[in-house]
């Protein structure tokens, strides 16, 4: 009984913290205290977090190297824009449509390619990402290489924070469920998992589809903030950007992905005046992290209050839960 009360108390606490946080930033925005530059970067930060966390599910937790994540972002972006701009549907419909379309794309691409192993899978996903881009470039209905211009600015702080929280909650819950354990077992030793009777393909596809779905969500949010989308935006370099975040944060740590996404967003902004160095730096980060600290920043650990508590001298009461 006491346990349940404690847990619901904690749940209420976190909801309250969330709401307060939301209102705080919302106030700052409405009062014009946060300048435009800050708002743009905050939006980029949220979108990057969603992208990194969703890719981490595929690359980190399931251990399948997917190099075409930008392709799913593109599918979501275009789907949502078609719905809101050409069919005048409300934003929520666009977002749901984006998720559905991206998830479907994830399924269509995932089922055939996830039978492949390691390197082959990576190349196949890279190829699919490029195919999506080339196909979009040749469809005149969505503007071809020029893309779609003049997208209404429907993404707000509320949608952004809501989407970020949703992404984290869903993926964390998935990882901590029996599905999650199956997924992690695929990463650890696929042959052993199969011997234990786990349908590895099924779980790989599940992870892939969910990852793709959230990438689509990120794409839709992106499109409705940045006014224009074109196929070139979602090329391999974009997939690579997301990969850097996931690798830096630690393949298999959601917190790591979040921290790294923030770090990369800030770094990008700081290096606006030094273009060539930025790419060299990212490449070096990738190489150095892989050689000297392949577990990235967080390994596969998550940040928990207990750790914070230890740092602060243990004045945060601990309970039986980990």
């Amino acid at each position: 009984m006491q346990g349940i009360l404690k847990r619901s108390g904690k749940f209420i606490t976190e909801v309250v913290v969330l709401v307060v946080f939301f209102l705080l930033v919302q106030y700052l925005i409405t009062a014009g205290l946060l300048n435009q530059y800050f708002q743009i970067n905050l939006t980029s930060l949220c979108i990057n977090v969603i992208l990194a966390v969703s890719l981490n599910l595929i690359n980190g937790f399931t251990g399948q190297l997917s190099l075409g994540h930008a392709g799913f972002m593109a599918v979501g972006a275009y789907a949502s824009v078609i719905m809101t701009q050409m069919f005048n549907m409300p934003f929520i419909a666009g977002l749901l449509g984006a998720c559905a379309a991206a998830g479907l794309a994830g399924f269509i691409i995932g089922v055939p390619t996830l039978r492949l192993k390691g390197d082959y899978l990576a190349i196949a996903t890279l190829a699919f990402g490029e195919i999506i881009r080339v196909v979009l470039q040749n469809i005149d209905y969505v503007g071809g290489p020029a893309g779609i211009l003049g997208i209404s600015k429907l993404t707000t702080w509320a949608w952004l924070l809501g989407s970020v929280v949703l992404t984290i909650v869903v993926i964390q819950n998935l990882v901590n469920s029996s599905y999650g354990r199956a997924i992690i077992s695929v990463r650890e030793d696929e042959i052993a998992a199969e011997l234990m009777g786990i349908d590895t393909t099924k779980y790989k596809v599940i992870a892939f589809v969910i990852g793709a779905l959230f990438a689509g969500l990120a794409g839709a949010l992106y499109a409705h903030y940045f006014y224009i989308i074109k196929p070139e935006t979602f090329n391999f370099l974009k997939s690579f950007d997301i990969l850097v975040m996931v690798v830096l944060g630690g393949l298999g740590s959601t917190t790591g992905a979040i921290i790294a996404a923030a770090f990369v967003t800030v770094l990008t902004a700081a290096l606006q005046s030094f273009p060539a160095i930025r790419m060299i730096l990212y490449a070096l980060i990738l190489i150095i992290v892989m050689i000297y600290r392949p577990q990235g920043l967080m390994g596969n650990k998550e940040l928990s209050l207990k750790t914070l508590g230890k740092i602060r001298g243990g004045n945060n009461g601990s309970s039986a839960n980990k």
């Binding site: 690359n59 390619t113 082959y120 990576a122 196949a124 190829a127 195919i131 042959i191 790419m279 892989m290």
Partner: protein, 293 residues
């Protein structure tokens, strides 16, 4: 019929270049099971070395190619020692990610040091001469490219089949641990493999510079990708496969542009890749070896 023959000629010279690059991919994969993403960019470095050799040192085509091949052989060995060797016992994902990082590093370092602008190969270094065979146009460049590629491939086959080094390379790619037990110096063998593969890519790079006239820091990406597809098509790890795969890709691409829709030319390469991976991942010449526990 004439048009078909012309397209065939077009395809053969394109294919020869793909074959040279594909060989590097396949050799490296055969020996350490790594897709060297940076291979296309090594080709680009070779092109640049050749370019500077011609414009700054005033050398002729053959000397420039030799220079490029030596420079890239060294580069390949260095990259292997610095970036891939430490990861020999890591997961495949780690090695792949490092290779991607290396590829981007080469590209953006070149941009940083040499600007993103394209460089033009001086036209008089290889004066053009067209041979007309009853309506068919064959330039001396076509002949040079196809012949050089064939010569290099023959040399490669000789090395693999008739020398001790080649034997060592075959041994290591079959079973690394057994090779060690038999006294093969695995490190040296791997280095030599990288050196040869990179040298071939460098030759391809110089040829591209001569044949198409311009080079730029990002020129390695698309040909690299297509050559990789060629290697997979032939059976990755199998050297004759890479040669055949290269020519097939060149001819296929040419035929699609010539008879189909040119706007989807690049998509064809990706499509072929997906098809092979789904239908016969081991490629045309590959054998099916299941993964053992």
């Amino acid at each position: 019929m004439l048009e078909f023959m012309q397209q065939l000629v077009n395809g053969l010279s394109l294919g020869a270049i793909y074959a040279l690059i594909a060989l590097g991919y396949t050799m490296v994969y055969g020996i350490i099971m790594l897709i060297n993403f940076a291979h296309g960019d090594i080709m680009m470095v070779g092109a640049y070395v050749g370019f500077f050799s011609i414009t700054v040192l005033g050398s002729n085509v053959v000397v420039a190619m030799l220079f490029a091949m030596i420079a890239c052989a060294v580069l390949g060995v260095v990259i292997e020692k610095v970036a891939y060797k430490p990861l020999r016992n890591s997961t495949r994902i780690a090695a792949l990610i490092t290779a991607i990082g290396m590829s981007l590093l080469l590209e953006y370092l070149t941009i940083f040091l040499l600007t993103p602008q394209q460089r033009v190969f001086p036209r008089d270094v290889f004066p053009m001469h067209n041979y007309h065979l009853g309506g068919l146009v064959l330039s001396n460049k076509d002949i040079f490219v196809i012949l050089s590629a064939i010569v290099l491939m023959i040399i490669l086959q000789f090395i693999i089949r008739r020398t001790k080094t080649g034997k060592a390379m075959r041994a290591v790619s079959l079973d690394q641990e057994a090779a060690v037990l038999m006294g093969v110096n695995v490190d040296k063998t791997i280095s030599i493999t990288f050196a040869i593969g990179s040298a071939l890519a460098a030759a391809a790079g110089v040829m591209i510079g001569i044949y198409y006239g311009t080079i730029n820091p990002l020129m390695g990406i698309i040909p690299g990708l297509k050559a990789f597809v060629a290697a997979v098509l032939g059976g990755i790890g199998i050297i004759p496969g890479a040669m055949v795969g290269g020519f097939v890709m060149g001819i296929l691409e040419t035929m699609v542009s010539g008879y189909g829709n040119s706007m989807y030319r690049d998509a064809v390469a990706f499509g072929v890749l997906i098809l092979i991976l789904l239908i016969k991942p081991t490629g045309l010449f590959g054998k099916n070896t299941g993964e053992k526990v």
